[in-house]
C-alpha cells in the first residue's frame, strides 16, 4: 500500500452551498413523491382486485390524517414537478423552428403549463361527468 495520503475534499452537502443546486435537488426529489403516490395507487388497485371489503378498507385508510398530510405534500411536490418539467423543457427537447425563427423558451414553457392546466381541468371534468 502506498503511504501517500492525499487530501480529498469532502463533497458532503455540496448542493446546499448554491441555490441553483438546492433547487435542482428539490426538483429531483419530487420523484420520491411520484414513487410514493404510485405506491398508494398500486395498493389501491391490488385491494380492488381482492374484493369489496378490501377496497373499502383502502378507501377508509385514505381518510387517516397521515394519508391526508402525505397527499397534501404530494400535491405540492407534483405541482412543483409540473412547473419544473415545463420550465426545463426548452432545454430537454430539440429546438422548434417556426417560420425560420427558433421558438423562444418561454413560449414552450407557457405552452406546457397551459396544456397541464387544461389536462387537469379536463380530468376533473371527466371524473365529475363519470361520477354523476
Amino acid at each position: 500500500m502506498s503511504k501517500r495520503r492525499p487530501y480529498v475534499r469532502s463533497m458532503d452537502g455540496w448542493w446546499r452551498k448554491n441555490p441553483f443546486f438546492v433547487e435542482y435537488m428539490i426538483h429531483e426529489g419530487t420523484a420520491l413523491f411520484v414513487a410514493a403516490y404510485a405506491g398508494v395507487l398500486l395498493t389501491g388497485l391490488y385491494r380492488l382486485s381482492q374484493g369489496e371489503a378490501a377496497w373499502n378498507g383502502w378507501l377508509a385508510a385514505l381518510k387517516n390524517p397521515w394519508y391526508i398530510a402525505f397527499h397534501l405534500a404530494a400535491l405540492l411536490a407534483l405541482t412543483y414537478h409540473t412547473y419544473t418539467w415545463f420550465k426545463i423543457m426548452p432545454r430537454t427537447m430539440p429546438p422548434v423552428v417556426v417560420g425560420g425563427e427558433r421558438l423562444p423558451g418561454w413560449v414552450i414553457t407557457a405552452g406546457g403549463l397551459a396544456a397541464a392546466a387544461a389536462a387537469c381541468l379536463g380530468l376533473l371534468a371527466l371524473v365529475w361527468g363519470m361520477a354523476r
Partner: protein, 122 residues
Amino acid sequence: MKAPLKRSNAPIFWALFGAGGMLSALIGPMLVFITGLALPLGLLLPADTMSYPKMLAFAQNFIGKGFIFAVIALFLWHAAHRIFHSLHDIGIHAGTGAKLLCYGSALLGTLIAAYALLAIGF
C-alpha cells in the same frame, strides 16, 4: 479489431422516464387532489365517485384499465430513473446493485399492476 458497439439500453429507460414525467406533469397534481384529498375529505366530487361498483366497472373497462396501468407503471418508471440518477449527487455510487434495485422495483410494481388488472377481469 474492436467488437461492434453494443446497443445501449439507455434509450428505453429514458423514454419511460420521459413518458412518466410528461404524464405526471400533465395530470399528476389533479390526480393526487382527486384521490388523496377531494374524495377522502368529501370535497367537490360526489361521495360515491370511487365506490366499489364504480371503480370495478372502471377497472374492467379497456380504457379504464389502460389508464390505471399507464399511470401506475409510468409514474414508477419515471421515479425509478430519476432516483437512480440522483444517487450519485447524494454520494452513493450508482452501480449495478442500485440499478437493479431502482428499475427492479419499477418492474415489480408494473407486474403487480398487470396482475391485479388481469385478476379484476374484463
